[in-house]
């Protein structure tokens, strides 16, 4: 589909929800917020986008 | 010229409507008129009273203290309101009422009996009353009164009420 995972770190409030519910377990938090541990493993399922309360992580073409 | 008329009786007799029609007839006749009523503490039954002030000048205070014309269809209302009449005023009562010791021109008319026996509709008593009144209040054109009646009574009862009005006008003549 040509989608890609995008992170807008400045909006991340570090709640950890996306980290917990990523089926591939490839997300994690650092001081500033969320980051992808291994982008290649991402299956573009969109669950992180679906549940991020702050719209800081999403898939976009 | 200012005439203060009080119509009194019991709840279901439709005297407020009679007052409204009288006032409407009056304004059609180019008079000023103010009509008011006092509601009971609650909407239920009990006594009923309407007040109408007619005048060729403007009318300010909208309530009546002592009446020029008092109409009473029940003994109770007569006993209450006959205390508040002007000197030399007119009092029109149903024939059933016991009138004693008041200083007024009293007309007794068989209003309720006419409603029940002639028109066979007790609820026409209010319009019969208007008929009676129309003979007393000359400034209000009878035709205007009739116009007001047909506008204000429930649809379908116009004819009955015209008849009631006519019967009323005859009652006072008959006295």
């Amino acid at each position: 589909m040509g989608k890609e995972l995008v992170i807008q770190k400045s909006w991340c409030k570090k709640c950890g929800i996306c980290v917990e519910f990523c089926p591939k377990n490839i997300l994690d938090l650092d001081e500033e917020g969320v980051y992808v541990k291994s982008k290649e493993e991402c299956i573009l399922c969109g669950l992180c986008e679906l549940r991020c309360p702050d719209y800081a992580i999403y898939l976009e073409k | 010229m200012k005439t203060e008329i009080r119509l009194s009786g019991s709840g279901g007799q439709g005297l407020i409507l009679a007052g409204v029609i009288l006032a409407e007839g009056a304004i059609l006749s180019n008079l000023n008129a103010v009509q008011s009523q006092s509601y009971g503490p609650e909407a239920r039954g009990g006594a009923s009273k309407a007040e109408v002030i007619l005048s060729d000048k403007s009318i300010n205070f909208p309530k009546i203290m002592d009446s020029d014309i008092l109409i009473s269809l029940t003994q109770k209302s007569f006993d209450e309101y006959s205390k508040h009449i002007k000197e030399n005023s007119i009092v029109i009562v149903d024939s059933s009422i016991d009138v004693h010791g008041i200083n007024a021109k009293v007309c007794k008319a068989p209003i309720i009996k006419t409603a029940e026996e002639v028109l066979k509709k007790p609820m026409t008593a209010n319009i019969i009353t208007l008929g009676v009144l129309s003979s007393v209040i000359q400034d209000v054109d009878k035709e205007h009164l009739k116009k007001a009646i047909s506008k204000r009574v429930p649809k379908g009862t116009e004819e009955l009420n015209m008849e009631a009005f006519e019967q009323g006008t005859k009652l006072i003549a008959a006295m």
Binding site: - | V20, A23, E24, I27, L28, N32, A33, V34, Q35, S36, Q37, S38, Y39, G40, P41, E42, I59, N60, F61, P62, K63, M65
Partner: protein
């Protein structure tokens, strides 16, 4: 000669006729004596002009729906009496801070609480100004005749639209329930004012713009001007802000838009004031008793006049003050324990003596009572 169109109308009836003349397209209410006829007649008349009537579940819902309808672009009104007016207070403040035009009718009855629910009173005058929490301006009008109820309802809508503000129409049971002759020819020509619309495109639109006249233009929902409305302190854009400076600006502007236009908003009637040495100041149905009492007192040689206050809020301080310089006494007859008199006293200071004539038992004050009260005070003063 043009045929004179006359009708015998009840005060409450005239209010609805006036409202429809003014363009009312929405009424939400909840029945309460002695205002109920306003709802009833609205339910009868509104569908005929493609307007909407709804009986809501209570008074709070009624005024909320009324404000909502106005935000959506319709001229709207609600009507109630004392207990319901108390319940509407929170939402009145919302209408003030959101500058939503609407008309709130309170047909006053005896109180406090349920009191004598079918008896007249004028006990909600102060409440009309102070009933809701927090600082705000309000316009309140009080008519004295049935024809004036018609024209004043039109005026209430006009002021609401012109100044983007709720307007309170303070009737009383006497005016609301009495029937009187209304001549329509002039009334039907009464001017109608509509709210000012935006003269810019949607992108430039600011829902609470500080314009020169201090009255922000108001757009309708559904026409592309997507805006936000909130009861929080907000800036010109309409969005909430915590800036104390914006708070100050907002409240100042909302007060100032009324105060800068007192000339247009205030309305009084003077009766025999030219040479008067004694003045009656009053409002609502008490104007009627007062006029009769003045005729009687004048006939006895007493130089008495009347200032009948039609716009009761903002209080016409200047008019009262000016007349107070000319007279020795001001009498303030009110069917309450003394409310307007507080404003009169504040304004006239030591200019003249101020005497209240009060009745709070559910009865109207008669002309005779005013006459004897005035005579009593005057003879005592001699």
């Amino acid at each position: 000669m043009m045929a004179v169109k006359v009708k015998l109308l009840q005060g409450n009836e005239a209010c609805v006729h006036g409202a429809i003349h003014a363009g009312m397209k929405f009424f939400a209410g909840y029945p309460i004596t002695p205002s109920t006829e306003i709802a009833e007649i609205s339910s009868l008349m509104l569908p005929k002009v493609k307007g909407t009537f709804i009986q809501m579940e209570d008074e709070i819902a009624s005024i909320s729906a009324t404000i909502g309808a106005s935000i959506a672009g319709q001229k709207s009104m609600t009507a109630t009496s004392g207990p319901g007016f108390s319940l509407k207070q929170e939402a009145i403040g919302y209408a003030c801070i959101t500058e939503t035009p609407c008309v709130i009718v309170n047909v006053q009855r005896h109180g406090p609480s349920t009191g004598l629910p079918t008896s007249p009173a004028q006990g909600d005058l102060m409440q009309a100004k102070w009933g809701t929490h927090g600082d705000h301006s309000i316009i309140a009008l009080s008519p004295t005749t049935v024809p004036e109820t018609y024209s004043m309802t039109v005026r209430a809508f006009n002021l609401a639209e012109k100044y983007r503000t709720p307007v309170i129409l303070l009737l009383d049971e006497v005016i609301g329930h009495m029937r009187e002759k209304v001549e329509f020819n002039e009334l039907e020509n009464l001017e109608i004012i509509d709210r000012k619309r935006a003269n810019c495109n949607a992108e430039e639109f600011k829902a609470f713009e500080v314009t020169e006249d201090l009255i922000p233009p108001m757009e309708k929902i559904g026409e592309g001007y997507k805006f936000h409305v909130t009861g929080l302190v907000h800036d010109e854009t309409g969005f909430p802000t915590n800036s104390t400076e914006e708070a100050r600006k907002l409240l100042s502007r909302q007060t100032k838009k009324i105060e800068d236009n007192l000339d247009d908003i205030l309305m009084n009637e003077e009766y025999m004031t030219e040479d008067c040495e004694i003045l009656i100041v009053t409002f609502g149905c008490m104007v009627r008793s007062s006029k009769d009492s003045i005729d009687e007192l004048r006939a006895k040689g007493i130089k008495i006049g009347l200032l009948a206050i039609k716009t009761v809020w903002p209080f016409p301080s200047e008019a009262v003050k000016k007349l107070s310089e000319q007279v020795e006494y001001i009498f303030v007859p009110e069917m309450n324990m003394g409310q307007m008199i507080l404003e009169v006293e504040r304004v006239v200071k030591n200019n003249c003596k101020v005497v209240g004539i009060n009745k709070f038992n559910g009865e109207i004050i008669t002309p005779q009572e005013i006459v004897s009260e005035v005579e009593g005070v005057l003879s005592f003063a001699k």
